[in-house]
Each structure stands twice: as C-alpha cells, then as structure tokens.
C-alpha cells in the first residue's frame, strides 16, 4: 500500500466536496500535509465546530448557530416584508443586491412532486404559521423562474392570500448589460409582460 491508512482516509474524506475526484483530493491532502499543517488544523476544528453547532433558524430555516439567524434576530429589519427563497445561497444573493431590508424564509428546495418533495419537506406549515402570526404584510416570492419554482410560488401565493398577506412575484427580464437579440423567448415574454410606465 502506497499511503498510510490515515492519509488514505483523508483523501477519501475530501471527496465529499462537490467536484472533487480522487486526483484533486490527493492534491489537497498533499498540500495540507506538506505545506500547511496549521491550515489543516484550522480546517479540522472549523469543520468540527460548524458541523456540530450549525442548525436551522427556528423562524426562517436559514443556517443558524443560535435559535435565530442574524437576520431574524436583527431589530433593524423590516418585519412586514418576507422574501421566500429556495436555498441559503439565494438569501446571500438577495442580501448582496443590497436592496432588501426585510426578512427571509428558506424553503430548502422547491415543489417537486416527482421526487416526493411537497409541503412537508419545504416547511410550508411553518411558513403558514408566520403568515398567521400577522406581522407579515407582503410575501415576496423569489423562487427560481423554472416550472417547479413557478408552481411553488403560485401555491405559496394561495397560502398568503388565505391569511390576508399580499403575495408578490419578483420580475424576470433582460439581465443588466444584456442584449435583447441573445435573450431567450421565455425571458423576453416575461420582460414584456412585466413592462412598466417610464415616469
């Protein structure tokens, strides 16, 4: 055997990362052992801490260390706005846009009846509890513009209406810096349907 068992185990373990095959895993392991043992220690402790301590926010299902995530715990956010997104990465994307100051709800997926993903998996009864609590005035449905995302948005809109919360859908259209000629028909149709008056 070429490798000691613990090195072999490290290489195997690194392969849980997306896009990492045996070759890359071996390169990473060698790099950590040859050049950066301190980095390896930091990586090990942070992996351990994160995998043990990080759970879900009780309110919005975002990653959180405490009962509430930093966004939900903050007092400066607008409690009447709730942005519903599919994944934690979407929360980060919306936050980085810098134009949103409300709260979030993370579905951790979208309705996908063929995969058996329905209301229970998406925490929709938890979302309904938020609507029921009465602080939310507007639910911004920011699921992806795919058929599954649209079906999800539509269903949540129905739930929102049932609880007298105004559902809105994010606009889809031509990307900034894009050219109409290269935009697909579906996007262009949405962009035309969502046109607005220039003031």
């Amino acid at each position: 055997m070429l490798y000691p068992p613990s090195l072999l185990q490290l290489i195997e373990a690194l392969r849980v990362l997306p896009g990492v095959g045996p070759k890359s895993a071996q390169r990473m392991a060698f790099h950590l052992l040859e050049r950066n043992r301190t980095g390896a220690q930091v990586l090990a402790t942070s992996l351990q801490a994160a995998s043990k301590d990080i759970g879900q926010c009780q309110r919005c299902r975002m990653f959180a260390e405490l009962e509430l995530c930093p966004v939900c715990a903050s007092t400066s956010r607008d409690q009447s706005l709730l942005c519903v997104v599919e994944s934690p990465a979407d929360v980060v994307a919306v936050e980085q846009s810098g134009s949103y100051k409300g709260l979030y709800f993370v579905l951790m997926g979208h309705l996908s009846p063929l995969d058996g993903i329905g209301p229970d998996e998406l925490g929709l009864s938890q979302l309904e509890d938020l609507f029921r609590a009465g602080h939310v005035q507007e639910a911004i449905l920011a699921t992806n513009p795919t058929v599954e995302g649209e079906a999800t948005a539509h269903f949540i809109a129905e739930l929102a209406l049932k609880h007298h919360v105004k559902p809105t859908r994010i606009a889809h259209g031509v990307p900034v810096g894009g050219e109409l000629e290269y935009v697909d028909g579906g996007t262009l149709a949405h962009a035309l349907a969502g046109r607005h008056v220039i003031r």
Binding site: P18, L111, S112, P113, L114, G116, V147, H154, T187
Partner: protein
C-alpha cells in the same frame, strides 16, 4: 473510420419529463421524444450556461433536441424551443407533473410511442387553455392505458358479451371487464353505473359525477399497470390540496 460510429440524432421533437442536478453544473434529463420514446440524456454545463439551454429544458413546452452517443444515456448536444415557451398556468402545473410521472413510470426506455406523444401534446394544450382540468386528466389516463395495452372493455359485459345498460350496475374486474351485480353503485368499492362506463368508453364524460366515478376505475387500472410502483405526485397533490382547503 470506426464502423460503429456513435450515432447522432438531430432536432428530435421532445418534452422534458423530469430533470435532476448532476455534479456542479450539469443535469440528468428525462425526455419523452417522439420517435425514440422515453430516454435519459446528460446535459453538461446547463446550470451556468448563457446559451439558453436551461430555458429550453423546461417541462411542458415542445422542444427540439439533438444528442449523440449510444447506450443507456446519451449526451445532449443542443435543445431549442419548438413553439411557445411554457405558458401553462401555474395552478395547472401540478396536473402536468402528474402526467409526467405517469409517463416516466409507465413508458419503457427507448420504446417509441408516437400515439402517446401526440396524446401528451394534446393534453398539455388542453391543460393550458381548456376549461375542464379533471376531464383532461381522465381522458389522458384512459387513452394512455389503451395505448400501452391496458385498455378496458367499456361496451360489453365480460362473460355474457351483452351490451352494457346505462341503468345497470357493474363490478369492474381488471383484465376481464364489467360484470353485472345486484348492488348499489359505489365507485369506492369498485361498483360502477353502466352510464359512467359507457360514457368513459365513448369519451363523452359530461356529468361531473361520472368524472368522479370513473376516476376510481382509472386509478385502479393505473395501479394495476404500475405494478406496485408508487406515484409520488399523487400523494404530494393530495397534501397540497389538504393544505389549500384547510381553515386559515
């Protein structure tokens, strides 16, 4: 030249039945093609592509696909829209998912089913624009079963061969046919009115009560055809319906 050159199919009419992410940016796509039946292809780099591939690979819209390779799963080379983009109303999409799951579970791989393809196409149009969603689903189920060799006998009694009477009452035995019984019609128990069976046979379902009645019969026949395989979408649709109609 290699004598067994990998074949390449160009611009084949198709619909996306289902897809799942694969690795970072690729997808595994289940297609229903007109001339090659149901098949699975790998679509590389869809999720970050700027080519509009992701937009073309949406369910419920007619597309033209090109792929290469033999065996179980080919490589998707191109996909483009062959008509209008998805304009299925969001509330009808759940029914669309149900159709897709039926096709995914009942069609064999690489088995061309042109008739079913046309039926699917027609049913999608009906879901998009038609008024009666439930009727469209029942007719799809009936014709799909018929096309796949699970057709039902809806004109004559099974053993005697006598024509069904609209006022009669029948127990439907799968793989045999309707048998007259002296009972009160109760679709849940598999006992149907002659009128509902005849209406389904003639595809003249106009009475909403009959549509509900034949739903039970078609469900039993589909379960038989599915041979123990579970329909996830049926369950999820049930959960959603319950949530939709529960008290605020």
């Amino acid at each position: 030249m290699n004598p067994v050159a990998t074949h390449r199919i160009q611009l084949q009419p198709a619909y996306v039945l289902h897809q799942r992410p694969y690795r970072d940016t690729s997808r595994i796509v289940d297609l229903f093609t007109r001339d090659h039946g149901r098949m699975t292809v790998f679509a590389r780099g869809v999720r970050n592509s700027k080519t509009g591939l992701a937009a073309a690979l949406q369910s419920f819209q007619p597309i033209l696909v090109s792929w290469s390779g033999k065996g179980e799963a080919g490589q998707l080379v191109a996909a483009e829209l062959a008509g209008e983009p998805v304009n299925m109303p969001a509330m009808r999409m759940l029914s669309g998912f149900y159709l897709n799951e039926l096709l995914l579970k009942l069609l064999h791989l690489h088995d061309p089913q042109v008739e079913v393809f046309d039926l699917y196409n027609e049913t999608l149009q009906h879901l998009k624009t038609g008024s009666d969603e439930l009727l469209a689903l029942r007719l799809f189920e009936k014709r799909l079963l018929q096309a796949l060799g699970f057709g039902m006998s809806l004109q004559y009694e099974a053993e005697s061969g006598r024509p069904l009477e609209p006022d009669g009452c029948y127990r439907y035995v799968l793989e045999l046919g309707p048998l007259p019984v002296d009972a009160i019609p109760d679709a849940i128990k598999g006992v149907y009115t002659g009128a509902a069976l005849l209406a389904l046979g003639a595809e003249q379902l106009t009475d909403p009560r009959q549509i509900i009645e034949v739903r039970h019969l078609l469900r039993a026949a589909l379960d038989h055809a599915l041979d123990g395989r579970h329909l996830h979408s049926r369950e999820i649709l049930g959960d959603l319906r319950q949530m939709r109609f529960s008290k605020p």
